[in-house]
Point group: C2
Chain length 336, copies 2
């Protein structure tokens, strides 16, 4: 007899939630009853799962004792409102909103720090990091042993879908308006996003850092178990619908052996290495895929201690929904 689990997905009508439900089906996750939850706005809608339409219900009225595992894929406010109720009812939870502190729900990327599971107590509370931290962790994990890592520099070029449905709609609308020479009226973004790059995603704090940038530093340090790692980060908003891209430089204290780096990337789980000369893109490669694409593996110009990489990954899938499901696959081994 194979065991199955009753599961709730909160935010099931959203960008991440919908993909998460698809991935549970694709990977044949042992789902018993599936409860799809959202706000009152889309309660009553339905979402397909294994050939049936599953009715979406309001999270406020949900009885968490019906399930063993909950995915939180609505915003941080929803996680903060319902996580303790879920845990009190004995549910394990995986949060995708970044709302829970690391000592309550540590960040987990299966390719990088699956070992932390051993230290967790039931019911499990785990966070799936931001897509940027997840992507970087998948790629750093096989490289750490090869470098005397001093510092990481990242310019993360984020897709608008990182900000949910409305952002996707607005990029399409702005682009059409410009091509039709109609006046541009930004609504979701505070200025022209089409054919432009925005230097920050979200409001910066008094020091000039955005929440996403601070999350990336905090989460990556935790996942890599390198609490003092120097991480220099800028998150910008690109006029791309889906798929984040990353310009990354790793500084090592000594010369980097590119042959070893390539071999390690080639062998590592969750990574597709693109051949030298070529490079991956968000639209052409990463979107819809289960791996992080890596290309442009090279030293610095005149600097052998520098390792440069270009990464791209599906922010909704590999960066979020798939990582959460991979975490769930690890959890259920111990939930049994």
């Amino acid at each position: 007899m194979s065991q199955s689990f009753d599961i709730a997905v909160i935010g099931a009508t959203g960008t991440v939630g919908e993909t998460l439900v698809q991935i549970l089906e694709e990977r044949d996750f042992p789902v018993g009853n599936l409860h799809l939850l959202a706000s009152s706005e889309s309660a009553g809608h339905s979402v397909p799962f294994r050939g049936k339409n599953v009715r979406v219900r309001e999270v406020d009225e949900f009885d968490f004792s019906k399930v063993q595992l909950v995915f939180f894929a609505a915003g941080p406010a929803v996680t903060l409102s319902f996580a303790s109720r879920a845990v009190a009812a004995g549910c394990s939870l995986i949060d995708l909103s970044g709302a829970l502190p690391a000592d309550q729900a540590p960040q987990l990327v299966p390719e990088a720090n699956a070992d932390i599971l051993a230290s967790l107590k039931k019911p499990f509370q785990v966070s799936s990091p931001s897509p940027s931290a997840t992507t970087l962790a998948v790629v750093l994990a096989p490289l750490l042993g090869l470098l005397d890592l001093q510092r990481i520099h990242v310019t993360a070029c984020l897709a608008v879908s990182a900000q949910g449905r409305e952002a996707v709609t607005e990029l399409a609308r702005q682009t059409a308006e410009l091509l039709n020479v109609r006046p541009l009226e930004p609504t979701f973004f505070d200025r022209q996003m089409a054919f432009n790059l925005l230097a920050q995603v979200g409001k910066p704090d008094d020091q000039g850092h955005t929440l996403l940038e601070k999350r990336l530093v905090r989460e990556l340090r935790q996942v890599m178990a390198l609490p003092l790692l120097k991480i220099s980060v800028t998150c910008i908003q690109a006029p791309v619908f889906f798929g984040d891209s990353f310009s990354v430089t790793l500084q090592s204290a000594s010369a980097v052996d590119l042959a070893k780096v390539n071999a390690a990337l080639e062998d590592a789980p969750g990574i597709e290495l693109v051949e030298a000369g070529d490079y991956p893109t968000a639209v052409g490669d990463a979107v819809g895929q289960d791996v992080v694409y890596v290309g442009r593996v090279r030293h610095g110009v005149d600097d052998l201690s520098e390792l440069n990489l270009w990464l791209t990954s599906d922010n909704v899938r590999k960066g979020a929904a798939l990582n959460a499901v991979q975490v769930a696959e690890l959890l259920i081994k111990d939930l049994l």
Copy 2:
């Protein structure tokens, strides 16, 4: 009596050349006769200058002894074919193609290294650096004295106009095709450029570096007179028509005084500093302007020795045509 100069612009029908002719007019450059040159393809066309239409002629048939100053704004091949003829005829020249070695025609950014003019001999041969190097030099110049600079990291997000007319047309065409759900057929770019980011601009060498990346390192070192400066660079292609954007990190050996940095940027020529919290963009700020916009001035997350900046500039104007005209304004003081 005020002196005027007879001038030739090669590539006058191109993205850079056309803007250059406009800027000569705007800044009331003391132009006597203006000769506009291009290939046989656009010979016979005309370009407006000071209320008249100036006929474009073929460069092959041009008698360089008619002018005192030539702007080379066609490709490197054109510069290599005609520069020595121009010099032999006694013309000074300003090259925008990057074709000439630094010992023949040093890179000059008036805000950064105008002092090198003193060492040049007539007829003058000067290069205007790539837009990326020009933009970075304008911003680094006022900061060098404030930092114990160890290393610069740059991710340069280049506009498609950096690659000339055809690239601009193709981004528009690709975008329209996608919005109209027609099949995409890349011609100029080798893949989808619309709603995507390309990890490299031009073909990389065996070490993985593109010509633009190597030029940026070489030119910036020369302009800043820091031949050993460590510069880590990635040039990517963004789906933006005009205006380059730069995510820049300067590593200093000691804590960076942000108040001093802000004051220096505020006072420096060629720079517009955007207030904290806000940020400049290519489309909204830089395009059509004569300055480099600087924003997001901040330390690293937990790292006071890091200085992060976001820059944006009009690649065609500030990055190329205007810089060349500013160089010319310096040269004519000594051409007299």
